[in-house]
Symmetry: C2
Subunit: 232 residues, 2 copies
């Protein structure tokens, strides 16, 4: 009844509301919902403990708001690339994969906004449906459009979806299980291994090769396609 007394008093970052949202997002992202305490959040935001209840009602609604806030903020930070009308589809695919990896992996270290969204994907709560509808489904639609253009409409929608998920899954692994991936790579290679560009290049090439548009990784003898399961 007394929540959200006024929408936005000042658009500056000194607004206690956005300070709490930002601090809450970081805390939730790295500690999880249960482990993050409102005391720590308020301490980081420089406000009193009562502020979170005053502005958001309770911890749960603060969490939902912080997820939406993080999502909107990250979308503004790394916008979706736009292409000129004549841009070839393979270039679009490479751009798409590259920007997705940039958004996921960030510059120096993974941005906390994505970490918060990851938690939602892996264990969905109420905020997840909104996240999918506003953020993920449109991006997925763009990817499907690129793929459809790439194969010239030769594949049914169900197969395009599978291929799209194959591309997303490859990128997703580096972000979601990045620490484990790093353990599987020799220590002197992990730095180059976790850089977005090489990953994007590999994923794009892998997908284009699977679609028959780029050269396959191994060329047994050029275009000598053998049936599955034939002995070598």
């Amino acid at each position: 009844m007394s929540a959200t007394p006024r929408p936005k008093p000042t658009d500056a970052a000194s607004d206690p509301r956005v300070r709490i949202l930002s601090a809450a997002g970081q805390e939730f992202a790295e500690r999880g919902y249960e482990a993050a305490t409102v005391r720590d959040i308020c301490s980081a935001a420089g406000v009193n403990v009562a502020a979170v209840n005053y502005y958001f009602g309770d911890k749960h609604r603060l969490y939902i708001e912080s997820v939406k806030h993080a999502h909107a903020e990250r979308l503004r930070q790394v916008p979706q690339p736009e292409w000129a009308p004549g841009t070839p589809a393979p270039v679009k695919l490479r751009d798409f994969v590259g920007s997705m990896l940039d958004r996921m992996l960030g510059g120096d270290q993974p941005p906390w906004q994505v970490g918060l969204m990851m938690r939602e994907l892996l264990q969905p709560t109420e905020a997840c449906r909104e996240l999918v509808e506003d953020y993920i489904r449109p991006h997925f639609g763009i990817l499907l459009g690129i793929l459809d253009e790439l194969v010239g409409g030769a594949l049914p929608m169900s197969e395009l979806r599978r291929i799209g998920l194959s591309i997303i899954g490859q990128c997703f692994l580096y972000r979601a299980a990045g620490d484990v991936v790093a353990m599987l790579v020799p220590t002197d290679e992990i730095e180059a291994f976790h850089t977005p560009q090489p990953i994007a290049e590999h994923v794009t090439r892998f997908a284009l090769a699977a679609l028959g548009i780029a050269e396959p990784f191994a060329i047994p003898s050029l275009c000598a396609v053998r049936p599955l399961g034939s002995p070598r």
Copy 2:
């Protein structure tokens, strides 16, 4: 100092120790470390609250033990497939992917053991390194071996690793972000979409096509490979 009074008094499932481990694993898997309470765990295991401190010292050590227990149990449930000496590499790849997806997605619903391991992968704790060394690295090695055999040793190790991660990532997405994937697929297709076999078939075919061993998904004109970025 009083922990682990005896290793295994009776190998039956009536041992309070394994009852606690099993209940703790399920609780940790679906609620997370912080949200899971020792009271709920002990209630599910049918023991007194003091039992967890008596047998494991504290909650944290119980968690680590339950992760190792779940790992060992799941490894016993779905062992790694073995192949006769002359088995063709593509068949091995398909078997490998299929068993990995079976292990991840399970029969009717995802097994809690894997859910617990997922949490470790996504936010590693002390138990993670052990998990990687004992469980993940050997499996990854097998996959790299299959891939190396598949391309006839034509690719360097670093590239084989990338391809291996591409395969694992595709499967990983369905398990880790399964709920979100389901939201992106029409409701009348999700049942077939989340079944392990079709996924395994797609992932295998995708990888073989990318390697140039199976037919590509789209055949623009048989073997007309165009350079990346050329307009259609």
